[in-house]
């Protein structure tokens, strides 16, 4: 299993990460890549930047627990998760999730599962910088609902 979890201030190269992952695994038939970027506007208002705060130690552990869970649920051949912190300007990368499997269903599902959980369970907080000043981003109910889908799916399977 070639799993990589990294938190870093600097940018990442999604294509290079895919190449690293597929080179390390054999029998990969499907790779799904999700990249989250900093939008130029929040609720219709232009923003200057986002600053991401995180809980060092717990963020890595929490992501690792979800990568383990993804590995239990789907036949994955490799997972890469990179989450940036610090100040990030519109158009810049924030988060990368890459999942590799023999077939696409597992790769798609695992990537979506990991993103839904990163949004609601990984200890990161976004602060928006705009002409109005600095404001903490409020958690969205839609993100909780997206993460809950996976819990329901697991309960139904048990």
């Amino acid at each position: 299993m070639a799993d990589t979890i990294r938190l870093q201030r600097e940018d990442f190269d999604a294509a290079a990460q895919v190449a690293l992952l597929t080179r390390a695994c054999t029998n990969v038939g499907a790779v799904v890549t999700f990249t989250g970027l900093c939008r130029g506007a929040e609720s219709g208002e232009p923003i200057a930047a986002l600053t991401l705060e995180h809980y060092p130690g717990m963020a890595e552990e929490e992501i690792a627990r979800h990568v383990e869970e993804a590995n239990r649920r789907w036949p994955l051949l490799g997972v890469t998760v990179i989450h940036r912190y610090g100040r990030i300007e519109p158009g810049e990368n924030i988060v990368l999730v890459v999942t590799a499997s023999s077939h696409r269903e597992a790769a798609f599902a695992a990537a979506e599962f990991l993103m839904d959980y990163l949004k609601t369970r990984a200890p990161f907080w976004k602060q928006v910088e705009s002409a109005k000043g600095k404001d903490w981003v409020e958690a969205k109910g839609a993100d909780d609902a997206a993460a809950d889908r996976w819990r329901k799916g697991r309960d139904a399977a048990e």
Binding site: L52, E53, Y55, L118, W125, W136
Partner: protein, 83 residues
């Protein structure tokens, strides 16, 4: 035990971390929040709505009813907004 705060909880409390020694009657996360709220205006402000406060003990998410006995580090923070 060590307390750590993040995002607007950290800003309202006015510090990122501190060592505390609550009395033995404070047994759960919810009771710790109630105890902290009485320590001063900044704590009362940070914890004014306990429903939006999330907690972790030794870097694992916990519910408000979780026991704090034996905890080395307890974190308080708002709902997460990463990804």
């Amino acid at each position: 035990m060590k307390l750590v705060y993040f995002a607007w909880v950290r800003e309202r409390v006015g510090r990122a971390e501190e060592e505390i020694a609550p009395p033995p009657s404070v047994a759960t996360v919810a009771e710790l929040v109630a105890w902290l709220s009485k320590r001063g205006e900044e704590y009362a402000h940070a914890f004014e709505n306990p429903n939006v406060i999330r907690a972790a003990i030794d870097k694992r998410h916990v519910q408000a009813g979780a026991a704090i006995a034996g905890a080395r580090e307890i974190a308080f923070f708002p709902p997460m907004t990463g990804g």
